[in-house]
Amino acid sequence: MNIFYLILQVLVFPGLLFAAAAGLATSWVDRKVTAYVQMRVGPPFLQPFYDVLKLMIKETCVPAGAARWLFLSAPLLGMAGAALASMLIWRAFLPLGQTFSGDIIVILYLLTMPAVSVIIGSFAAQNPLASLGGSREIKLLLSYELPFVLAILVPVVQTQSIRFSDLLAAAPAVYAPSGVIALVVAVVCMQAKLTLVPFDAPEAETELAGGAYLEYSGPPLGIIKLTRAMMLFIMPLFLVAVFCGGIVFDKGWLPVLGGVLKYLGLVVLVILIRNTAPRVRIDQAVRFFWGPATLAALAAVLAAMIGW
C-alpha cells in the first residue's frame, strides 16, 4: 500500500480530521440531549466547534515546576491513539485497505491511550488536585479494563476470530444471550472509559475543580476536549461494530441508516445514564467493576464457549 495514502487515511478521512468533526457533532448531540433532559434549549450546533477553536487562540500556561515537555505532549499522545483507533474501525467498515488478524487487540490498546495520556499529563502538572485526579484515573483504568476485555472476548469466542472483518461478516453477537450480557457490561465499561457520570471521579468538577485537566489551558486543553469528543464518537461505534454488526455500506442505504441509528441509540443511552446517575466514589467503582461486572462478563464468556 502507498505510504502517502496511508498517511492521508490517518490524518484525514477515517482518522484525525473525520473523527474530530464527527466527535464534535456527537458531543453536540450529547449537550442537546442533556439540555432536553433538563428541559432547556441547549447550545447551537456549532458550539463544540467554537469551544475547541476558542481554546486554540488562548494562552498556554505551563505551571511552575511542571515537567514541561511531558505536560505539553501528553494530550497529543491521547489524540493520536483516538485517531488511529478511528482509522482501524473504519477500515473494517469500508474497503479502505486490508484488515489484519488481531486488529481488535490493537484497537483495545489504542482505546486506552487517551486514559494513559490523561494520567501522564495530570502527574506532569505537579498539582496536588491534578495528581489526585490522575490517581483516580489509574484506578478506574485498572478496574474497567478487565470486564471490558472479557466482554469483547464474547464475540471473539462466538466467531473464533480476532479479525474485525470476520466479526462483521458473522451474525451479530447480540443475537445470542451471551452477547446481550456482554453488551450490557461493555456499555457500563464504556461509560467509565469516557469518564462520564457516574464514573467521572477523575475530573470531579465539584471537589477536584477539573481534576486531571486542572492545569491545562489553551491549545493543550483544546486537544484534550477534542480527544474526549473523538472518544465519544469512537467508543459507541466500536461497540456497534463488535456486538451489533456495525454499519454496512455495500448493501444500499437502508443498512447504513440502520447502522447509524444503532450508533445514535448507544450514544443516547450513554447520555441518559450520565444525566440520571449520581457519581460513585472511586472505591465503589473499583468494587463494582471487579465484582459484579467481571462476574457477569465471565458468565457471558462461559456461555459463549458452550454455544449459547
Partner: protein, 158 residues
C-alpha cells in the same frame, strides 16, 4: 470584527471567585446558571479551574487578605481574561467601605471590564451584563444588543 473576537464571544467559560460575599450574589449567580435561564444557549458554561476560564466572575468585597488571593488567581488565568464584578460590594465596597479590613475597591487590584451593581443583581441583569461584555468585545455600542448579536436573537427566539 476579527476571527479571534468572534470565536471568543461565542464561547465564554466562566470561573466564579467569591470574595467575602454575603452569599446573596452567589445565590443569584447560581440562579443564572440554572436551566430556567439556560446560559449554554450563548455558549456560556461554568468551569471549575481558572486555567479553563475566559471570564473571571467576582462577587463580594475583597479585604486585605482576600485581595492577595484575587491577584494570584488573576495572574494564573490564561490571557485573554475578562473580569466581571457582580454586585455592589465588588463594584464599590458597598457598606463595608469604612470597615477596618477593607482597603481599596476591586478595580485598584485588577482591571475590571464590566461593573454590575445591585444587592444582589437579578439573573436577567447578569445576562444583560454578559451581553454588554460581548458587545464591547465586538466593538458594538454597549446597548446595541437587540437584533445584532446571535445571543440576543436566540434569547428572543427561546
Amino acid at each position: 470584527m476579527g476571527f479571534a473576537v468572534n470565536i471568543l464571544t461565542r464561547s465564554l467559560n466562566v470561573f466564579h471567585l467569591g470574595g467575602s460575599a454575603c452569599n446573596n450574589c452567589d445565590i443569584e449567580i447560581l440562579d443564572t446558571l440554572t436551566p430556567r435561564y439556560d446560559l449554554e444557549r450563548f455558549g456560556i458554561t461554568l468551569v471549575g479551574s481558572i486555567r479553563h476560564a475566559d471570564v473571571l466572575l467576582v462577587s463580594g468585597i475583597f479585604n486585605k487578605k482576600a485581595a492577595v488571593r484575587l491577584k494570584r488567581v488573576y495572574q494564573q488565568a490564561p490571557r485573554p481574561i475578562f473580569v466581571v464584578a457582580i454586585g455592589s460590594c465588588a463594584c464599590t465596597g458597598n457598606m463595608f467601605q469604612k470597615s477596618y479590613n477593607w482597603d481599596v475597591p476591586l478595580d485598584q487590584y485588577i482591571p475590571v471590564d464590566i461593573y454590575l451593581p445591585g444587592c444582589p443583581p437579578k439573573p436577567e441583569a447578569m445576562i444583560m451584563a454578559i451581553l454588554k461584555l460581548v458587545n464591547k468585545l465586538r466593538g458594538a455600542p454597549p446597548d446595541a444588543s437587540a437584533g445584532k448579536s446571535r445571543a440576543a436573537k436566540q434569547k428572543r427566539g427561546a
